[in-house]
């Protein structure tokens, strides 16, 4: 009469099965290790190819020193511009619902997915397209006295076009994670929307701001395609480090190309370390 306890059936099958977890860890670990190994080997090969003497000799070239200076300058300008736009746009997209918001949201991703050369070409066309006889580049060069195409501002603009999209995405996620209720309470306490943003939202977002700026800077450092098309590759004028690698490679000077590549690897590693240090949780 009495029903057997529910565990009885399961208990009858009680025996040790020799199912090892080893294949699982072997496959997962093997796939991961393969990729990590590829990255390590890439850097190791660069390091083995060059020597300290070749490295210092390459970095002593005035063209390359000028390229380092221009890289630091343009990346920083592009990163600062991206930070400002990223903070503003990230906040607007995170907090407000407005008509066409989905369209704006989609448009931001275009610079990320667009082939780099196409982006450069589009910039070139934008600046040289006659609109009723008026050309943006001519106006900037002749009336404002600030030529862009094939000059250093073109480098900044090419870098900014891509790095800004990453800054906006980062800031959007940052503000999404901040409780908007605190800004609302601030408004009942006497703040305008602007004051609530500056006194309540922005201080909470500082990690995101640092992360967005750093990501934008790193993206700008790696930019090449749009710069080549829109700013050209003129030595001592629009040459940044990514251009240097291309130029040295094209004249068969592999040693200098590798030396500059290593310098860029070092810069990227420093940026990554900094990101890890500041934005733990946000960027992972």
């Amino acid at each position: 009469m009495s029903a057997s306890p529910p565990s009885a059936d399961l208990g009858r099958d009680f025996r040790r099965r020799h199912r090892s977890d080893a294949p699982f860890f072997l496959i997962m670990g093997g796939l991961s290790a393969g990729y990590v190994l590829l990255i390590v080997l890439l850097i190791a090969a660069d390091l083995m190819f060059t020597s300290v003497a070749e490295f210092t000799a390459a970095l002593a070239k005035p063209e390359i020193q000028q390229a380092i200076y221009l890289t630091l300058l343009t990346c920083t300008l592009a990163a600062i511009a991206s930070q400002w736009v990223g903070v503003a746009m990230g906040y607007v997209l995170s907090r407000y619902r407005f008509p066409g918001r989905w369209l704006v949201d989609t448009l931001i991703d275009i610079p990320i997915v667009l082939p780099p050369l196409v982006l450069g070409l589009s910039l070139l066309i934008l600046f040289h397209l006659p609109i009723g006889g008026w050309v943006l580049e001519d106006w900037l060069r002749d009336d404002v006295n600030f030529p862009v195409t094939y000059c250093w501002p073109a480098v900044v603009l090419a870098q900014f076009s891509v790095s800004c999209a990453f800054a906006v995405r980062t800031m959007r996620v940052t503000f999404d994670q901040i409780n908007p209720r605190a800004e609302e309470v601030a408004r009942t306490l006497g703040c305008s929307r602007g004051q609530a943003f500056f006194h309540v939202a922005l201080p909470q977002a500082w990690r995101g701001v640092v992360a967005a700026t750093t990501i934008a800077w790193a993206r700008a450092l790696g930019e090449f395609g749009p710069i080549l098309v829109f700013a050209g590759a003129t030595r001592m004028k629009t040459e940044v480090l990514s251009t240097t690698v291309f130029l040295e490679l094209s004249i068969g000077n592999l040693d200098a190309a590798v030396a500059v590549s290593l310098l860029m690897v070092a810069m990227a590693v420093v940026v990554l370390m900094f990101l890890r240090f500041v934005g733990a949780g946000l960027t992972s």
Binding site: R181, A182, E184, R187, L189
Partner: protein
């Protein structure tokens, strides 16, 4: 005095219409109603964070329906408190006063007065991150009272507290009421809370608010 006249709200997931009630100056009103019936939305309409689709909100007889939240002089304590994570306890108490550009001496006086009233003097230098539920609650109430608002709005302030802390906070709310005389609207779904605190009992049921003045009943 808080007065709602024929307020209609369209909030997407639900709508309310024809909401009218009145809380006399100095009264402690408790608004009761089941969860999800729009009590929080009504508070947002009163403090100006949400625009009603029609009707008017009057504070001390003045129509403030189109005013910004900053101008309404309403202290608001939301259910999740929404303390400012980057600001310490003293910073919360002085936030509204700094925005009003009061002299430093006056701000300091007000902060210590509030801290004493709420029993949080020992917490002033602390970050809000490590506060207990009851302590955080006191800070949020202090922040809302700091600028001597016309009206205090409390959104289920006691719902997340354990029984002992809840009793302490009820006592505190009565002390605040006696000391400041601020007109208060307290939202809850807890009958016992309403019995202890309310001068005016408002019940939101099927989109209609019925009002009972308990100062006259007793």
């Amino acid at each position: 005095m808080i007065e709602l006249r024929d307020i209609a709200i369209n909030a997407g997931e639900f709508s309310l219409s024809g909401i009218s009630f009145r809380v006399e100056t100095g009264h402690f009103a408790v608004l009761m109603g089941r969860t999800g019936r729009g009590k929080t939305t009504l508070l947002e309409v009163i403090c100006g964070l949400r625009m009603p689709s029609s009707g008017s909100v009057l504070i001390h007889g003045k129509d403030v329906t189109r005013w910004s939240p900053a101008d309404r002089q309403i202290g608001y304590v939301p259910q999740d408190l929404a303390l400012f994570p980057m600001t310490n306890v003293a910073g919360h108490l002085e936030f509204a006063l700094v925005r009003r550009r009061l002299p430093r001496r006056q701000i300091n006086e007000r902060v210590s007065e509030l801290a004493q009233l709420l029993g949080i003097e020992h917490l002033l230098k602390r970050s809000v991150k490590g506060l207990s539920g009851g302590e955080a609650q006191r800070v949020a109430i202090g922040r809302a009272l700091s600028f001597k608002p016309h009206v205090l709005l409390l959104d289920e302030p006691l719902s997340a507290l354990d029984d002992a802390t809840r009793n302490d906070m009820q006592t505190l709310l009565r002390t605040v009421k006696e000391n400041t005389g601020v007109t208060t609207l307290h939202v809850t779904h807890n009958r016992a809370e309403a019995d202890v605190l309310a001068d005016t009992l408002l019940t939101l049921n099927d989109g209609v608010v019925s009002s009972q003045d308990r100062t006259k009943v007793e």
